[in-house]
């Protein structure tokens, strides 16, 4: 009797499992730095991707060309923020059944990585890799223009900082001078100070009275802080990632340097900064394309937290990318078979390229012809161990 029951239960279980086994899945690969100094960015992105896939699948997945439904799956590959490894990871992803990849984390990986892709679609003379990439984190300006297979959902720092310094000029009319501290050996932080922050500050009438440079792996900031103290600036802008931002802020605190306004790098508007130096960061103002200011953003933040990650402007982009890709796949009419893989990749690329606007967590994101995006943003300030919105230009 027991054996009979066991056999019946097994058959029922197998029959119930068969549709699931036969179900088509569409793979979206994620890649970036999930280990090393900036590993937290990749870990947060990975959590955001898993949470987004879970949400999409719970809502029925995506629709294929024949009207059938397919589930999404994702896998995250670690490139350790190394260009050579990033290229190798992308080549590995391209040999899997992934329809598209979301990544990378580091701009110094993104730049060579995009270079190995075909520069212009349908250029028969260009043997570059034909694989679509939808970048979530690597934020250095103007990288999508390298290849037509690249799309980015990263905010425009030029627009955000231009607006920030205009707002500072209006809000703090007595501030006149600025000192720039820059993490010199990281593509993003360096580019943002010299090409974005500094230019925006000067444009809005602030006088740059000094610059201090340090490296990503530095742990001593006393000389740079002394230079800041000597310059006596009204505003100090720190273009650095959370680890050295905290190091610098602690040294500034030790040397009792307290400017009227403290400005930070977009990538530092994260939990890591507050975990590392909440007290010293108090008052730090940063423009960001993510803050949990509405229900959708709060829901996403909770879903990612449940996966062990934190939602910030970078991982929020990973979440958004998957939501955008869900709509793109639904509209592109992909077949989802092994034979159609290359044509599916092309359809997804073309559909991404055809987008004018998409819905993001903070509102409507504008898609640009060169593959870049213009995203809504807010200015957040560190307050009582959390990030609070100090100004919402869109409101």
């Amino acid at each position: 009797m027991k054996l009979k029951n066991f056999a019946a239960a097994s058959i029922v279980t197998m029959m119930a499992a068969m549709p699931a086994l036969a179900e088509t899945t569409i793979k979206i690969a994620g890649f970036g730095a999930s280990s090393g100094v900036v590993g937290i960015f990749g870990q947060n992105s990975s959590a955001a991707m898993q949470a987004a896939v879970e949400k999409i699948n719970s809502e029925g997945g995506v629709t294929l060309a024949n009207g059938s439904k397919a589930m999404l799956e994702t896998e995250y590959y670690d490139d350790r923020c190394n260009a050579e490894e990033g290229i190798s990871v992308l080549r590995r992803i391209a040999t899997t059944n992934a329809a598209i990849a979301v990544g990378p984390t580091c701009s110094n990986v993104a730049e060579p990585l995009f270079g190995i892709l075909q520069a212009k679609v349908d250029d028969a003379g260009d043997t570059g890799l034909q694989f679509p990439i939808f970048t979530d984190v690597a934020i250095k300006g103007g990288l999508a223009g390298i290849s037509e297979w690249v799309f980015r959902n990263t905010p425009s720092e030029a627009t955000m900082y231009d607006d920030l310094f205009a707002w500072l000029r209006a809000t703090y009319p007595d501030t006149k001078t600025i000192f720039g501290g820059v993490e010199e050996d990281f593509a993003h932080s360096r580019f943002t100070w010299y090409s974005v922050m500094k230019a925006a500050a000067e444009k809005h009438g602030f006088e740059v009275v000094g610059e201090g440079q340090w490296l990503l792996n530095d742990t001593n900031f006393s000389n740079q802080a002394r230079a800041m103290r000597r310059a006596e600036p009204d505003i100090i802008a720190i273009s650095a990632h959370p680890f050295t931002t905290c190091g610098m802020l602690r040294e500034m605190d030790r040397q009792k340097i307290s400017p009227k306004v403290l400005v930070g790098l977009t990538s530092s508007s994260s939990l890591e900064t507050l975990t590392g130096c909440a007290n010293e960061a108090e008052g730090l103002i940063i423009p960001t394309s993510f803050a949990p200011v509405n229900d959708a953003a709060k829901y996403a933040a909770d879903a990612v937290a449940a996966k062990g990650g934190a939602l910030d402007l970078h991982s929020a982009a990973a979440w958004e990318n998957f939501m955008i890709l869900r709509d793109v796949i639904n509209a592109a009419g992909i077949e989802g078979t092994a034979e159609s893989l290359q044509s599916d990749r092309r359809k997804i690329r073309d559909a991404l390229g055809a987008l004018d606007t998409v819905e993001g967590l903070l509102g409507t994101n504008k898609r640009l012809p060169d593959g870049e995006a213009v995203k809504p943003y807010v200015f957040v300030g560190a307050k009582d161990g959390g990030w609070a919105v100090v100004h919402n230009p869109g409101s």
Binding site: S35, S88, R92, L129, I146
Partner: protein
């Protein structure tokens, strides 16, 4: 397949980097300057193809000759010091080269775009291979043809009087000098040869990644350069090749799936190998193939001969 062909490219350029350090190590000198020569080769070859439209082959040759000459110039003062002082001196040279490219800007307009080194922003669009219809497999084949030539050349040198001279200097400088060998000439020649090989490796590297920047050519790369021949053993050029496959193929690519643990295992496995094979994977001097594949051990054979 695309992935494996790409991996072959990486193995190829790293083998060249390792071989450049191997030649210098044969003379008993530890040079941390190889990353610097590799950087110069990368920038020179990239400038040749991307800025001036030269074919990759002459570009790599130009890079190789340039770095060979540079290595010779650096070699004269650097090789006057020995041991740890030489390590520091060559390390300083590597950092000097890195900082030079950190500040080096020279861009020209090609097809409406600015092309060339742009300081800390790096050197973008080194796209000779894709723009000239080279598939990933073609690039891998090209790189490995060069690797095989360099390996063959070094293997040949190793088995000639020149190789014996290099090893003699490496084993005992005083003894080598006492038999009339000119130490400075031999060391500088090895340095120049190593520099030339690093230049080839760098030139090829720049074209496989399409974008180079100062940060790539730091101390870590210099450490890898000398780690390959030391881990592989100085007995044969093939030890370096084996070490590159072990590190890049197994430790970097093979263990990627274990995430954060990879970095920890990376060091632990290298330590383990160095403990199990203190003279490198292939030892000090590789046994002849017939001995390796012989059923009888050489010790037993010798014992019988003695009887």
């Amino acid at each position: 397949m695309e992935f494996y062909l790409g991996l072959l490219q990486i193995l190829g350029v790293h083998t060249l980097l390792g071989l450049s350090a191997y030649v210098v190590l044969l003379t008993g000198q530890v040079s941390m300057a190889q990353a610097g020569f590799y950087a110069v080769g990368a920038y020179v070859a990239a400038m040749c193809t991307a800025m001036f439209g030269i074919h990759i082959l002459p570009a790599v040759i130009i890079a190789s000759v340039s770095t060979g000459i540079l290595a010779m110039i650096v070699g004269f003062p650097a090789l006057r010091v020995r041991g740890l002082m030489l390590v520091v001196a060559t390390l300083a040279f590597g950092e000097m080269v890195r900082m030079f490219f950190f500040n080096f800007r020279w861009q020209i307009e090609r097809d409406g775009k600015l092309i060339g080194p742009n300081g800390a922003e790096g050197f973008r669009a080194i796209r000779f291979f894709p723009e000239n219809g080279w598939e990933t497999g073609d690039v891998a084949l090209f790189i490995w043809c060069i690797v095989v030539i360099v390996l063959g050349l070094l293997w040949w040198v190793d088995n000639t009087r020149a190789g014996a001279v290099l090893r003699a200097v490496g084993h005992d400088e005083v003894a080598a000098q006492s038999v009339g060998l000119n130490l400075t000439t031999i060391k500088v020649a090895a340095m120049a040869l190593g520099g030339a090989i690093a230049g080839i490796g760098g030139g090829l590297y720049a074209h496989t990644v399409t974008h180079i920047e100062h940060g790539v050519f730091g101390i870590l790369l210099a450490t890898f350069a000398i780690a390959y021949p030391i881990l592989g053993g100085l007995g044969s050029v093939f030890g370096t090749l084996l070490a590159v496959i072990f590190i890049q193929g197994f430790l970097v690519e093979g263990l990627r799936f274990i995430g954060d643990w990879r970095s920890l295992l990376f060091g632990a496995l290298i330590l383990l190998v160095m403990n199990l094979r203190p003279t490198g994977l292939l030892g000090e001097r590789m046994s002849p193939l017939k001995t390796l594949f012989s059923r009888k051990s050489p010790v037993v054979t010798n014992a019988k001969e003695t009887q």
